[in-house]
């Protein structure tokens, strides 16, 4: 009796491991081939020497990191540091603007009648179905010199005559905000939809003014959505290539452009790899900080990032 149950159990174990193998293996292989291997390769390249045609060569060296930090043949230049700071600043500003714009939109959609809500969400999402490059070209046409928007900015005195609103850092911010808005609206909408309106009334009933009812009863409950949205917006924005390339011009370059240039134009693979690693590290630091903030403000609720 005992033996049969043992045999049964071991057979179940075999079946289970076989099941695991078939279900997990394809994904694991995929991740290994297309994520782990290239990342490891990138890491390796970053620590190699740049050859005459920009390709990585032995021996190993920290040369590309030195160059990334700004030390070149002509001594130290702040160009790359500016690019890093500009990337961080653009990410910060555009994410903050996206939050400010998306928050009321998401709230407004939840107050609409139930049958209208999917349509409103669709209106928010549909533009992102168009190719990003095409949409960015659209902004170029809207912001170029001589367009009504540029004319308006001129007449208010924001820009010099015939300058146009692009290329500029402002155009990049605008492009980033426009591009990433749906990624903030959706998680915030999900958070708002879960919220029971009776709780807002309960807060007011418990002596909270409308403003305090918002801060103490509504805002903390939308925080998981807000943080999820921030991750969805800030990380891709930090590494954005297309928008600064098209709208930024020479003075609007971000880290993504710096890296891309090393693999394409100026051909310096190890430097590009080092840049990519820098981006990765900055991203992880940002994620870690966000988790900490989420745990502190989330009132014990696990904020999944």
């Amino acid at each position: 009796m005992a033996e049969t149950s043992m045999a049964l159990r071991s057979r179940a174990l075999v079946a289970e491991s076989r099941h695991l193998l078939f279900t997990v293996a394809p994904g694991a292989i995929w991740i290994f081939v297309f994520l782990v291997l290239p990342s490891a390769y990138l890491m390796g390249v970053a620590f190699m020497t740049t050859g005459p045609y920009g390709l990585p060569e032995m021996p190993l060296s920290l040369d590309s990191f030195r160059r990334l930090a700004g030390f070149g043949f002509l001594g130290w230049s702040p160009g790359n540091l500016y690019t890093l700071l500009r990337s961080l600043w653009q990410t910060l500003v555009s994410t903050a603007l996206v939050v400010v714009i998306a928050y009321p939109i998401a709230y407004y959609i939840t107050t609409c009648r139930e049958k209208w809500r999917p349509i409103m969400l669709l209106v928010v999402v549909v533009p992102s179905w168009t190719n990003q490059v095409i949409r960015t070209f659209g902004w170029m046409n809207l912001l170029a010199p001589g367009t009504p928007l540029a004319g308006l900015a001129e007449s208010v005195g924001l820009i010099n005559p015939n300058m146009g609103l692009y290329p500029s850092n402002f155009a990049v911010t605008l492009g980033l905000v426009y591009n990433f808005l749906p990624f903030m609206v959706l998680p915030l909408y999900a958070a708002f939809e879960k919220l029971d309106t009776a709780q807002v009334q309960a807060a007011q009933d418990l002596y909270a003014s409308p403003v305090r009812a918002f801060w103490h009863a509504v805002f903390p409950q939308t925080l998981p959505g807000l943080l999820a949205g921030t991750v969805l917006v800030a990380i891709p924005a930090f590494g954005m290539y297309v928008i600064p390339e098209l709208l930024g011009g020479g003075k609007g370059m971000m880290l993504g452009n710096l890296v891309a240039n090393q693999f394409a134009g100026s051909a310096n693979w190890p430097l590009g790899a080092a840049g990519a690693i820098l981006m990765l590290i900055a991203t992880f630091i940002g994620l870690f900080a966000m988790r900490r903030v989420g745990k502190r403000l989330g009132g014990g609720e696990e904020v999944v990032i």
Partner: protein, 380 residues
């Protein structure tokens, strides 16, 4: 709540004990009367929620708003809380006119039907929310939370998150969260409707005890007439935005003013009055003698016969009405027996306490004694 009024009730109240002193201090506290005048409220263009409500609720009273869904009882409660604005009319609590006071400036707290606890806060922070919004310092908040947790017997729950609690526990916390603010008036919006029958009965008794001990004015909304009768000092029955009757449970149950109230209180035996004089009425049952002392001015309307006042079988006492009927159906309910009788071709319900007497069988012919004093005329 002062610490002594918050002490758990340990038993009988004797003069000179802490309990008796509680009562003295309680009287100093600020239970408030409520005065509603000419309240109107409509939603959209067609839905009339309140159609001219005048009502006075005494300080320290357990007052129930009773009615079917859509009768306006919840709207009335929400107007008291300030969550809804009346289109017309005025509203006073104590000697203050609060018609235009926003909810967060009213000394009124609500126990919501869905409880509306804050899921992002622990039980402790839920309880302390009202105190925190009033700017009460942390030390006092802690003391009060400990007090209320003890009072409502949820001591070991305070650290938990609210979404890990049972329905009954949430209900208690919703109640405690409102009570901790020591409002002049506590509003309860069907707070027991989500609970199962056993727990509900238990909490009905408990709520009533808490109200009596604190001497606070409670305004309770329900659609359950049994619940209303068990708990209330007075009941207002509402229908279509109009108060139909206000009275003690026995007044509303035994002397409903109209057919709606009678039906809503669970009465089946209503018979249209065809003709009437001072001391008799003609209905489908035949002519019945009435107690002239109970005359009402209206001559038309309905005759109410409470099933529990009928006596089946045996001799008909002198001065009683005598009816003959056939048992059509018998429902054995344990403590009582319900009979569906047919008298002159109409159905009459009778309820007898199960005292061990011989039961009447289906198809039995029985004599029915009806005391004239138990017959009540009800307006249409």
């Amino acid at each position: 709540m002062t610490p002594s009024t918050m002490a758990p009730d340990t038993g009988t109240r004797e003069p000179g004990t802490a309990q008796a002193r509680d009562i003295d201090r309680r009287d100093v506290r600020q239970a408030s009367s409520i005065d509603l005048r000419g309240l109107h409220k409509r939603f959209g263009k067609t839905t009339i929620a309140l159609d001219g409500v005048d009502l006075t609720i005494e300080a320290g009273e357990f007052f129930t708003l009773l009615g079917p869904s859509g009768c306006g009882k919840t709207t009335l409660l929400r107007i008291l809380a300030g969550l809804e604005e009346p289109d017309a009319g005025s509203l006073r609590i104590g000697d203050r006119d609060i018609t235009d006071t926003p909810p967060h400036k009213r000394s009124v707290n609500t126990v919501f039907q869905s409880y509306a606890l804050f899921p992002h806060l622990s039980v402790r922070d839920n309880l302390a929310f009202g105190l925190r919004m009033q700017g009460i310092p942390l030390e006092q908040r802690k003391a009060k939370v400990a007090e209320i947790a003890d009072f409502i017997q949820l001591g070991d729950l305070v650290e938990r998150r609210v979404d890990r609690l049972s329905g009954g526990q949430r209900q208690r916390i919703a109640l405690a969260r409102a009570l901790i603010c020591e409002p002049n008036v506590l509003l309860l919006d069907e707070p027991l409707s989500a609970l199962d029958a056993g727990l509900r009965g238990q909490l009905q008794v408990e709520l009533q005890r808490i109200q009596k001990r604190l001497g606070m004015t409670f305004v309770f909304v329900t659609h359950d007439q049994d619940e209303a009768m068990v708990m209330s000092d007075r009941i207002a029955v509402l229908d279509s935005g109009i108060i139909q009757q206000v009275g003690t449970p026995s007044e509303v149950y035994e002397h409903p003013v109209n057919a709606f109230v009678a039906r809503f209180m669970g009465h089946d035996n209503l018979f249209a009055i065809q003709r009437s004089a001072d001391n008799w009425v003609d209905t489908d049952l035949g002519r019945l003698q009435l107690d002239p002392a109970q005359q009402r001015s209206e001559q038309q309307g309905w005759l109410l016969i409470r099933p529990e006042t009928l006596e089946l079988g045996g001799d008909v006492p002198a001065g009683y009405n005598r009816l003959e009927g056939i048992v059509k159906e018998r429902l054995y309910r344990g403590s009582r027996i319900e009979y569906r009788l047919e008298v002159n071709g109409v159905t009459l319900m009778a309820v007898a306490s199960n005292l061990g007497q011989r039961l009447h069988a289906v198809d039995d012919r029985v004599t029915i004694s009806v005391c004239p004093e138990d017959l009540v005329r009800v307006a249409a």
